[in-house]
């Protein structure tokens, strides 16, 4: 054995081991990615398959409720109405899961158009009016009449606004306030900041990050007063980030929360 061989053999061996370890780690990562993709696909398929029989149940219940097969007495009608609204709530939750799965995977693409974001905000306010009225809440738009059009995916921005405003209503007690405001920032004021605020129960500083995590709810106990999939803010985050925007919250317990998200006003055109 020559001198040079003896000197080189230990580092060479070490290099070989490292290489093997790196390959092993890469294999594990690939396997985990593949499994995660499989789980995502599974979740998407199951959600879709749950939707179909549920849609049939709701339709049958509506046929009965509306007396199309004969009159029901008031108690029967109330009971059947309960089937319809329970089914509808389930459909909404399944849709939320489907939206989350899509927003978290690579399948989602943005369809950007120029649109008036104040008009969109007013539309989402209208959609939430009934819910707010039940709790005697007001939903105001504070400003924004002079904003330029936004170039973004209108459906997805609508979803973000819907989730934020829906949450604000959910976590604000009777007689409270929900508001939407706009500001601009950045060197050329080319970033739009949208604020959805409320004077509801608020979020502790320790939970600022947690609320955007999927399936996370600050109170996850079965007896928690507010039910849901825990996906609303995770979806909002994914959809905002798809637009190269950011989302965050500022809040004080007992005083209220202010959720902010940004949208670039002049993103590169497709």
């Amino acid at each position: 054995m020559s001198m040079s061989d003896r000197v080189g053999s230990a580092p060479k061996k070490r290099l070989k081991t490292l290489k093997a370890q790196a390959e092993e780690a890469q294999r594990t990562i690939d396997e985990l990615r593949a499994r995660d993709a499989l789980k995502t696909q599974f979740l998407s398929n199951v959600s879709h398959d749950l939707r179909t029989p549920l849609a049939a149940i709701i339709t049958h219940a509506e046929i009965l409720r509306d007396g199309m097969l004969g009159d029901l007495n008031p108690k029967q009608r109330d009971s059947v109405s309960g089937i319809v609204s329970g089914g509808q709530q389930l459909i909404d939750m399944i849709d939320e899961i489907l939206t989350y799965v899509r927003s978290a995977s690579d399948q989602v693409t943005l369809t950007r158009t120029d649109f008036d974001i104040t008009e969109l905000v007013d539309q989402v306010r209208m959609l939430n009016q009934a819910l707010a009225a039940k709790k005697h809440l007001t939903i105001e738009r504070l400003n924004g009449d002079d904003l330029p059009p936004v170039y973004a995916d209108r459906d997805k921005v609508k979803h973000v606004l819907g989730n934020l405003i829906g949450n604000a209503i959910k976590f604000t007690s009777d007689g409270g306030r929900v508001w939407i405001g706009f500001s601009r920032r950045g060197r050329d004021r080319d970033e739009l900041v949208v604020e959805v605020g409320d004077n509801g129960r608020g979020i502790a500083r320790d939970h600022y990050e947690l609320v955007f995590r999927e399936f996370a709810q600050v109170d996850a106990s079965p007896s928690r007063p507010h039910h849901g999939t825990g996906l609303g803010l995770a979806i909002a985050r994914n959809l905002v980030e798809l637009h190269s925007g950011t989302i965050w919250v500022e809040s004080e317990l007992g005083k209220g929360s202010r959720f902010f998200f940004t949208l670039p006003l002049n993103p590169p055109r497709d």
């Binding site: 179909t52 549920l54 049939a56 709701i58 339709t59 509506e62 097969l69 849709d95 369809t111």
Partner: protein, 120 residues
């Protein structure tokens, strides 16, 4: 002659629910579960309203419309029904000739209103 409705939908559960509904309001109901069957049923007798599910086992429901147009057997009106109502799939339905796109489950009052409106 009674209004003839063709339901193209791969779930028998959904078709059954619609069948109960449309029979109750006095429509004549026919049903198909695939693209091929949809084309065949639409050509067997004139259809007033076709309710079209988009994802069928042998293809996209819109293919039925294309084929019927080619063969000159278009229904008087067609309403597409889909599980997810994004603007891209909405546009392709309208371009293919659907009168409107409804999000499943369509509330029955809304469904009946839409059918009457598009057949008026």
């Amino acid at each position: 002659m009674p209004t003839r409705i063709l339901i193209v939908e791969d779930s028998p559960l959904v078709t059954d629910a619609f069948r109960v509904l449309f029979t109750a309001v006095g429509y004549e109901v026919d049903a198909a579960t695939t693209v091929a069957e949809g084309i065949e049923r639409a050509m067997s007798a004139p259809v007033d309203m076709m309710l079209l599910d988009l994802s069928l086992p042998d293809g996209n429901g819109l293919e039925i419309l294309q084929e019927l147009r080619k063969r000159g057997f278009l229904p008087r009106s067609t309403l597409a029904m889909t599980g997810h109502n994004d603007s891209a799939s909405r546009r392709s339905c309208l371009e293919a000739g659907c009168a409107d796109v409804l999000l499943k489950p369509v509330p029955i009052a809304e469904l009946l209103r839409q059918i009457e409106r598009h057949l008026a």
